[in-house]
Subunit: 255 residues, 2 copies
């Protein structure tokens, strides 16, 4: 399904320091090929045009943009599909790929990390396949995988389940369900939470899980304050509990 | 759990072009910070010492190694834990981290991609946490995530289940089980296969799955021959079937 005369869809990863100060040099977290590809593109589908411009200014510092920002086409994903916690958000995105049908390469970018992973964008990729466009995923940081690898939990069988319910009872029940799954199958269970709820999530885990179940928390990956901890629940209960209120965290449960 | 006077454990990703010719420049697939970290390390835990030396020679081209190869300590993971298809391979790896207890940073590296993800190494990371060492995951290519993002399948709820059974009947049953899971929960199911079985795996999928179920296959990610296809089973059956006999492939089932 190579694109032929059509443009291709590039999946362009962004750094994980969205909203952080200071920000690391782009080339410390993105390979040259990713930065070069981003610098070439004129047509974008993005989560947020403003943050995409900020990202492209950082790209320009390393590799001059082939097209001035003013001449770029930045199309935002429909609001309703990129609210956090929306696990599907599917829509017909073929219209967003019109430039590719005209022969222009298009970049898909989210605010942080890899588009379409724990982030909106899958509908755009699906549309690309429907249109017979070549899809080119570029290398960049993916917080889920950095935390999984650094947790020491099983990385040969794992699942990411997105956000857990907010209702305390429903959340505790879901946590126990994930624990049953992790202990019975050995499949590490990963999920995420919005920063201001990190502490509450950790409390729920320490209350709901068995003492020997292992829990990992990672946040600030690729940043100076990067931290991944993994202990059995019993050890978490003894040791001081870490819960960064400001950084998005990735949680994992395993045996 | 910062390492204090102890060394840290760095998770060092490797390119995905293991065994391929020609190989891409390292800086096209690894960020500068990853290459610099790899160039600094003298102590390594690896899947294979020979391929690790070949990797370090590529690092040296970009950033001169701080220590000559002859003075590096390369410890291999025990054979039995890194045979492919071994989904746990857990062992007490604390002995391998002795250099870290002496204050030396240690690198964990596998033959391709991110250590401890769809690869051995989790036991070493677990041992690091047991010893109170800081674990630092570095950014690099992860074929599973490149294929997932490029598939257009749900990336907000997904699972990687490793290898499927080799026995045809057991494999078909497992494939149907994964399809039930994917269709009922929306959780994309990822798995891998050894290259010479790619064609057989695809045949099994096209025979076992429902016409509307979507199947993605990706191989050669980050290489010139990189290719990710995703179609409904009915369309796979019509279109010519792609199955690279030489490159490891990532498969995904979704709705």
């Amino acid at each position: 399904m190579a694109g032929g005369r059509h443009g291709r869809l590039f999946l362009v990863p962004a750094p994980l320091d969205f909203g952080c100060e200071p920000q690391s040099p782009l080339q410390d977290v993105l390979p040259d090929a990713t930065i070069r590809a981003a610098a070439r593109l004129q047509h974008w589908v993005c989560e947020n045009a403003k943050t995409t411009r900020a990202y492209l200014k950082r790209v320009d510092v390393v590799t001059p943009l082939a097209h001035p920002l003013q001449q770029m086409q930045l199309q935002e994903l429909p609001r309703e599909v990129h609210k956090k916690g929306d696990h599907l958000g599917e829509f017909d995105a073929r219209g967003l790929l019109a430039p590719a049908l005209d022969g222009h390469d298009v970049g898909l970018v989210s605010e942080a990390g890899m588009p379409a992973i724990a982030d909106p964008g899958a509908s755009v990729v699906r549309a690309a396949h429907q249109l017979g466009l070549e899809v080119v995923p570029l290398v960049g940081p993916i917080s889920l995988m950095l935390v999984l690898a650094a947790s020491g939990l099983n990385g040969q069988n794992f699942a990411f389940v997105g956000y857990l319910p907010q209702d305390p009872a429903a959340r505790a029940a879901r946590v126990r369900e994930l624990e049953r799954l992790a202990l019975s199958t050995g499949q590490t269970q990963l999920f995420i939470e919005t920063p201001y709820r990190n502490a509450a999530m950790l409390q729920t885990l320490l209350q709901a899980l068995a003492p020997s179940t292992r829990v990992a928390i990672g946040s600030g990956l690729t940043l100076p304050q990067a931290r991944v901890q993994c202990h059995a629940v019993r050890d978490w209960r003894e040791s001081g509990v870490f819960a960064d209120k400001h950084t998005p965290a990735v949680f994992a449960i395993g045996r």
